[in-house]
Symmetry: C2
Subunit: 238 residues, 2 copies
Amino acid sequence: MDNLKELRIRNIEETKKKIKESVGFDDFIVQAINNIEEIKKVSNILVKRLREWYELYNPEFSREVSDHSKFVELILANKDKKIKESMGAELSKEDLNAIKELAKEAESLYKFNEKQEEYLKKIMEKNCPNITAVAGFLIGAKLIELAGRLKRLVLFPSSTVQILGAEKALFRHMKTGAKCPRHGVIVQHPLIASAPDSEHGKRARALADKILLAAKLDYFKGEFLGDKLRKELEEKFR
Amino acid sequence: MDNLKELRIRNIEETKKKIKESVGFDDFIVQAINNIEEIKKVSNILVKRLREWYELYNPEFSREVSDHSKFVELILANKDKKIKESMGAELSKEDLNAIKELAKEAESLYKFNEKQEEYLKKIMEKNCPNITAVAGFLIGAKLIELAGRLKRLVLFPSSTVQILGAEKALFRHMKTGAKCPRHGVIVQHPLIASAPDSEHGKRARALADKILLAAKLDYFKGEFLGDKLRKELEEKFR
């Protein structure tokens, strides 16, 4: 009986240790990219609120500056000139201050997002230098997040890497016979985003190939060939 | 021709002026209560992210403190002791700092929310002292927001005020014959929230009556009877 009890305790200890050791750099990558996405969503919500509120005061200015972060910046810098014949109401200083407080919150989130991106970039460059060089740290991190871990990403065929993040379109394709997606998150890569639509499929295929190669180099701790791989791609599609 | 042109310009001027003058205190109440609700949502999203991230480091502590704002507070005060046999990984200082940054954002939103509530309370007490005394500034503001303006709220029958905010349940009732809702947002009022379930309907009815009376006093700039009305309610349901 005592032996059994001891065995149980040791077992729990062992399991806890294993859980502890199972936390790897992948986890931080996943957390960071999730943070970045969530913060973008949240700051958008806040700026939309800010605009609605602010438009009581100066609707013309809000309509003029369509970029969210620029809008926040200009308000906080007091560069939000009100035209003379504005439709907006005159606001008390207190009301205006309250509006600015909200703008400050949005600004603070923008800044935090920048910091998060730096943090993610650092982890990516340290642990996945090849992926980062080929795909960029944001797309690379998103691919790892979608795969779950670097190890799983490496085991995918390149055609899967190509459409990671387009699961919805893929299943629609399989179910209804709609067009098969040509790319998932890698569409944001400059090589694809800047190309004409007819080139997208070809480029996505080539890019996914290289990213997978880079991922394998990173996973098996191979040498750094990222820059070379990226140049090959760039030359191919010049 | 010239006359027509001038007429047009004057017309636009006139309309702009009317739009400008149409902004009333109701609008600020609506904005503030919307802000408060949105910020609550947003800070919840952030703290959920924070927890997921933090649990790589100290899962036991996160599970122990279930209150979101308490959790943030303790982390920022460095009172998040890690037990010796924790399942969480050891984290570098940089990783921990990044986590704390997120906690700071959440804290900042909590503080902003407090400020917003103060701001709303001030507007409510100034413009709707009777509603505020009877319903409280949060419920009062929410009722005005749901009605659109104080003017519209005043025109509702008391039975509508009673179930404002329970539209979904009301339409379910009308469509499927499910139970009719007994109260909308006023359910949060201490007089109802603290009562046994069987009393809810009766109290909601009485409360809605008094709120409507208070709203009319506020709208027609009558005298301040809010405290008296509240006391009557409290005595009735002692």
